[in-house]
Amino acid sequence: MIRVFLAESRKLRRPTLVLSTILAVVGLEALFTSLLYLLINSRDGNSRRGETISASTLSLPNGLVAAFSSTATLLGVVALCIFAAQTAQEYSLGTLRNLLVRQPSRMKILGGKYLSMAFFALIMDLLALIVSASISFGLAGHAHVITKLWTSHTGLHILAQSFGNVFLATLGYGTLGMILGLLLRSPISSVALGSIWVILIESLLTLVVKGIDRWLPGQLIGTVGGGGMPGLSYQRGLLVGGIYLLVAGAVVAYLFKRRDVSN
């Protein structure tokens, strides 16, 4: 599996993918973190759905990760696209047959591929945290936010915890993307379906059907990223979201192992 991991890493290191991911992550974190601080006195709010996070709230130990945590779902969507495209392209390009001739154990292919993409997601989340934290420190003075508690013992603990949660959520969305890639075997279809489902359809369903977010995979994974949300606990997100991914993952892994490679 180590050889699969290293081979897959070579593909993930390609400049176009690395640069576009850096651009997406830096852009995302720069936008969300800047808006949080620059619009702190705005009557329209500085957070999602018009909510306002005040300077005093941002001065608490968890203030440093407020912006970073709020981007968990979007970082997850980036991961979903990467995991889905990297998996499905093996079918659409016909390269899966090359991989299976060189490594006939399909579970090792799947496992190594997943691990390498998980590592890519880890680097991506680290970059996001660094960008968001840097901007937070940079704009804190402008927004009259006191940063003393951010670097306290509690602040650093929250920082680590939030990073872990965002990484778990990123992995969750990425797993969803990989499942779609294996099922649909087309990068465009799996990326489109996955991102439209998470960004659009689940949001609409949540607005229309009360309480349905307790059962939607994207909402559940997003809850893990945010460390829990009003009406949807972190534990439920972790448990139910985890069960969804485990069951779906097992089904597609079985299909991947059994399915003929005809293209």
């Binding site: 050889r3 699969v4 290293l6 081979a7 070579r10 593909k11 390609r14 176009t16 993918l17 392209q89 390009l93 016909g94 390269t95 047959r97 090359n98 991989l99 299976l100 001739v101 060189r102 490594q103 006939p104 154990s105 059994r258 003929d260 490679v261 005809s262």
Partner: protein, 302 residues
């Protein structure tokens, strides 16, 4: 090693009611070049995919390099394959594509540059795969197949898209590999090329093996042709009559009588023509080519 490089027995692949490969049984001896021929859709690629464990057979058994096809991990490290054209990552360079496969297979990366040079891509190895011509893509596919320094090389249409000099290079490469002991199982539509290099032939038609054995044995099964050109073309009719009286089919074209017969009848024909007062300007025995035999056996139209 007294086992064949490839041995399949009753290998069958069904898709619903349709049989892509039906009870295929053949052997490819170790250290030979074996041509794998058949019309489009005859089941060649499906058979190759079953041998490489990409497709599971509906029934039947097989061994590759002495190991069951149910345990591909035991033989695939010694097998190189290019199936249904070269498939690589377009955004990676040719070299990086080979690096990916070398890393995956546990082969030294240092082999990559040598292989690129061997297939004539030494200077273009750094270019992205998507910028390659069809011939260059094909060459990269062959280089990838050679990565494991294979004991068995399986090539599916390796000369697709290559120019005449490229085709010649592939032919020379296959001959050189065979000389070094590599078994080469090659599917191609260029039957004249195969005739030059393949010692063995496996021929498929509609998913069934219709011949498996030595190329020479295959060609000897087909009747030869005697081409007789009389000094005066007015005698063509008389020659045709003589041939028909002695039970041979004959056609007249381009001032020649083409008589279906082995070369052993040429002396008698010469004598009979002389007795009939005909002088033959030339009399040539022509052996059937693999292409003619293929069309004859598969019923494929030319």
């Amino acid at each position: 090693m007294d086992f064949p490089a490839i041995s399949v027995s009753d290998l069958t692949k069904n898709y619903g009611n349709r049989s892509a490969v039906s009870h295929a049984t053949f052997e490819v001896p170790m250290g030979t070049v074996c041509g794998f021929v058949g019309p489009n859709g005859s089941g060649k690629t499906t058979t190759i995919r079953m041998i490489l464990s990409l497709i599971s057979p509906s029934s039947g058994t097989g061994t590759v390099l002495g190991h069951s096809i149910n345990h591909p991990e035991k033989y695939l490290p010694a097998v190189g394959a290019m199936i249904e054209g070269p498939a690589f990552y377009p955004a990676l360079s040719g070299r990086e594509n080979l690096n990916v496969l070398a890393t995956l297979g546990g082969f030294p990366i240092s082999r990559v540059q040598g292989l690129l040079e061997q297939v004539g891509l030494g200077e273009r190895g750094g270019s992205k795969f998507k910028t390659y011509s069809l011939g260059m893509k094909q060459r990269l596919g062959i280089a990838a197949a050679l990565l494991p320094n294979p004991k068995l090389l399986i090539l599916d249409e390796p000369t697709n898209g290559l120019d005449p000099s490229g085709i010649q290079e592939v032919r020379e490469l296959i001959i050189a590999l065979a000389k070094s002991g590599t078994t080469v199982f090659v599917s191609s539509h260029l039957l004249s090329e195969l005739e030059m290099i393949a010692e063995y032939i496996v021929m498929l038609r509609l998913g069934k093996v219709i011949f498996a054995g030595k190329t020479a044995a295959l060609l000897s099964r087909q009747a030869g042709i005697l081409v007789a050109r009389p000094e005066y073309s007015v005698d063509l009719g008389k020659i045709a009559e003589i041939a028909k009286i002695h039970g041979h089919e004959v056609t007249i074209e381009n001032g020649e009588a083409r008589i279906i017969s082995g070369s052993e009848w040429s002396a008698q024909l010469n004598r009979l023509a002389f007795e009939a007062g005909i002088t033959l300007a030339s009399l040539t025995a022509v052996s059937p080519t693999l292409e003619e035999t293929f069309f004859e056996m598969t019923g494929d139209s030319q």
